[in-house]
C-alpha cells in the first residue's frame, strides 16, 4: 500500500516536473505576448491574474525575474506610476520586443506543429 502511494507520488512528480520545465521555457513568450496583446501598459500583479485567467499557471516568484530579464534585454520598458498613493511598475513592449515576439511566435508554432505531427505519427 505504502509502496503504491510512493509510486503514484513519483508518477505525479514526474509529470509535474515535466510540466514545470515546459512552462519555464514558454513563459517568456506567454508574458511577452500578453503584454503585447494588452496594448496598454500592465503591471506585475495584473499580469499574473490575467495569465491565470487564461489557464497559464504562473507564480509570483517566477514572473518578476522574467520581467527583469525581458527589461534587461530591452524587450519591454517599465515606468513607475502612482495612483491613490499606490505606486505600480507598468510594463510595455518595445519595438525590439515586438520583433522578437513575432519571431518567437513563428518558432513556437513551427516547433509545436512538428512535435504534434511526430507524436501522432508515433501512435
Amino acid at each position: 500500500m505504502i509502496l503504491k502511494i510512493h509510486i503514484e507520488k513519483t508518477f505525479d512528480q514526474i509529470i509535474e516536473n515535466w510540466l514545470n520545465q515546459l512552462r519555464k521555457g514558454i513563459l517568456e513568450l506567454a508574458i511577452l505576448s500578453h503584454i503585447d496583446k494588452k496594448g496598454v501598459k500592465t503591471y506585475g500583479y495584473e499580469l499574473i491574474k490575467n495569465l491565470k485567467k487564461e489557464n497559464i499557471k504562473v507564480e509570483s516568484n517566477t514572473i518578476y525575474p522574467i520581467l527583469r530579464r525581458l527589461e534587461k534585454f530591452d524587450l519591454i520598458d517599465s515606468i513607475w506610476k502612482t495612483k491613490d498613493n499606490h505606486p505600480r511598475k507598468f510594463f510595455k513592449i518595445t519595438v525590439k520586443g515586438k520583433k522578437i515576439l513575432a519571431k518567437l511566435k513563428n518558432e513556437w508554432i513551427r516547433f509545436s506543429k512538428n512535435i504534434n505531427k511526430f507524436i501522432i505519427k508515433e501512435e
Binding site: 506585475g44 500583479y45 495584473e46 507564480e59 509570483s60 516568484n61 525575474p65 505606486p87
Partner: protein, 173 residues
Amino acid sequence: MNDESEILIERYLKKIKKSLKGHPKKEIEDRIKTIKAHICDAIQDQKENLSELEIIKNTIEDLEVPYIKILTKDKLISFSVSIFVLSVLLLSNLFETLPILLNSSKIPLFLIAIESIMLCLIIVDLFLTFLILSFPNKTKRFRILTFIQISITLTIALIFTIIIGTLKIMGIN
C-alpha cells in the same frame, strides 16, 4: 495597515535586502518597491475574501526570498588557495625575511619600507578574501573586489620577488 502586518512585511523586506547584498542600490530599491506594490495589489484584490494578515502571509509565501548562491565550489577552492598562499607569505615574511632585514646593518632603508608595504598589502588582501566570500557571485561588487584582490596578490608576489632577489644579490640569506 496594522502593526502585525507591517512587522511581517518589514521582516520579509529585510530578508530580501540581505539576499541582494552586493547588487546596485538602485536595483535593490526597485525590487523592494516592486514587492511593496505587489503586496498592496494583493491586499486590494483579495481583501473581501481574506484578512489583511492572511493575504500578506500568502503573498510573501508566493514571492519567496530569491535564492542567491553565495558559496560555490569554485569560490571555495579559490578562497582556500588564497588563504593558504597569503598565510604562507605572511608567516615567512614575519618570521624569516623581516628578522633578516631588521638585524642586518647592510640593508638599505627602501627594502624595509617595501617589506612593510608588503605586510600591509597581505593583511588587506586577507581581509578582501574574506569579504569576497560574503558577496553573491556575478554581482558588480563581487567582480570589482575579485579584480582588486588578484591585483594585490600579484603586487605582493612582485614585491616578494624583488626583496628575495635583492637579498640574494647582496649575499644575505
